[in-house]
Assembly symmetry: C2
Homo-oligomer: 302 residues x 2
């Protein structure tokens, strides 16, 4: 149970965390702190937050838990602004898609108070954004990766894990660098590839003709190219080293496939396609089994 | 109106054509011709076809229209088997995903009877296959591309277009080579890219860890990698020249993006991502407007 929770950034991610905690009756008061007055007012009107704050001092007074759900590139500036009002018992966590850069920013901003910061990454989202997209069930049955620091006390990490579990999430632990390598492969690279394909087609002289015949396969393949360009620019830059490594491996794979195709090597093409189909099918079966939501009352103690 | 329609291959594509014609009361008798006795029997039991045939002679006697809905690589062999029993008034069309190779196979198999063959490609599908996946509405509001030959009489092409319109489809016309260039870009390349990514990840030593954290964006991006490896091997080979051209353009695009990423050039990355997001958004709006299904009785005359 939390007395006061502060959500910095009351959009989809922060708003859904607030609604999840409220639905579980796990927080007495939730305060929104947000650079956009319109989004903050909207979150208040929607009942996502109980109170609003436009500056850190009032927001942080007596806070148990602070969730940063703002663009990752702002992490350092936000933590620096919070630091003067950060009480010794307050725990700060985040929801950023990259972790090595967040850890570096947190160390730089918080110095010897960095033990109060537990890096995190909820693996959940929707196509829409903003407070109106927030739902209490966003994290139910979904993974939240925590990437604790050596400076984090075990009890502090457990407290953050508890908050996410109250929202229905399943907690996983990865080291920050490992987290970033994993998500470079399964999330950041696919985003770059989808953006690259749509941009490639859109720049062709006969783009209108091409788009006219794009169908449902293209729609699904490129859905992630509908994501925020600013956010994915930041993620690409923040996780540049790991993303370059994955991109190089993929480009080598494409070069190999190109050679097989140019040689009309049907069996080699089919072997790659069949291996991919098998692996994807096994993966789908595994996630469908794993994403059965846990019982809502799995944990009733504090 | 058709007296006798023959469906060669009674799976999703052929079966849905049969059901669409039946729903529109546009065919008196539909006969299934299929290499798999089990699929043929299933199609008959499901009411997709009124009669079954295991060899072309009986199937083709008195037929008005024949739809080939078998793998494209079999087009030449099927047409050669049909030719001896092909009556002068019978029209043959197909549903293959590539057209230049189908036209070449048809010319080789049919010789001076090729004017009876109208190449076609319905742009519709579902995740599942086989007769059980067939539905009468599969083509409603969807595009069907016809790629007529110089040898096709206008009335013959109109008859094929009429059959598809009875199923609710919207007819588009493209030359075979133009069709193949368009679908190389918006369909065949995305399939190759999705297969390549899943195979790339599946071959890594830590594949299990990676798949564990793949989420909904990855699921959509790779959905087309769940497609039939044999079918996509055949399509890749059949449309090899156009697909190589698109793949080369895409690899050049990735090389450029890689250089921008390595240089940490945020504005250049954002420009590509934002152009892609804008283009995709405009495309989604356009297809949502265009895919409003036509009124069911748009055409009541023959």
């Amino acid at each position: 149970m939390f007395d006061k929770v502060v959500i910095v950034g009351t959009g989809l991610i922060g708003g859904s965390f607030a609604l999840g905690l409220k639905a579980a009756r796990a927080a007495t008061t939730i305060v929104g702190l947000e650079r956009s007055p319109a989004a903050l007012e909207r979150a208040h009107r929607l009942g996502i937050v109980d109170a609003v704050a436009s500056e850190p001092r009032a927001a942080l007074a007596g806070a148990d838990l602070v969730l940063l759900a703002a663009p990752v590139a702002q992490t350092g500036a936000i933590l620096a602004a919070l630091l003067p009002w950060l009480e010794p018992h307050t725990i700060v966590t985040d929801a950023g898609s990259t972790k090595s850069d967040v850890v570096a920013a947190a160390r730089a901003a918080l110095g010897d108070r960095v033990g109060q910061f537990v890096p995190g990454h909820p693996i959940a989202g929707r196509e829409s954004n903003g407070p109106d997209a927030a739902i209490a069930d966003l994290y139910r049955g979904k993974k939240v990766v925590l990437a604790p620091l050596p400076e984090n006390d075990g009890a502090v990490v457990a407290r953050v894990a508890d908050a996410w579990r109250r929202c229905g999430a399943v907690i996983h632990m990865l080291a920050p660098a490992e987290h970033d390598r994993v998500f470079a492969a399964v999330s950041h690279l696919p985003h770059l590839l989808a953006y690259a394909l749509v941009d490639d087609i859109a720049r062709k002289p006969h783009a209108d003709l091409l788009f006219q015949y794009a169908a449902s396969g293209f729609r699904d393949f490129t859905r992630i190219a509908g994501s925020s360009p600013e956010m994915w620019r930041d993620i690409s830059l923040a996780n540049r080293a790991a993303l370059l490594g994955e991109l190089d491996a993929y480009m080598a794979q494409l070069s190999d496939l190109r050679a097989r195709l140019a040689a009309a090597d049907g069996p080699a093409l089919e072997a790659v396609y069949a291996n991919a189909q098998r692996a994807r099918c096994a993966w789908i079966e595994a996630i469908e089994a794993a994403e059965q939501p846990p019982a809502p009352d799995q944990e009733s103690g504090k």
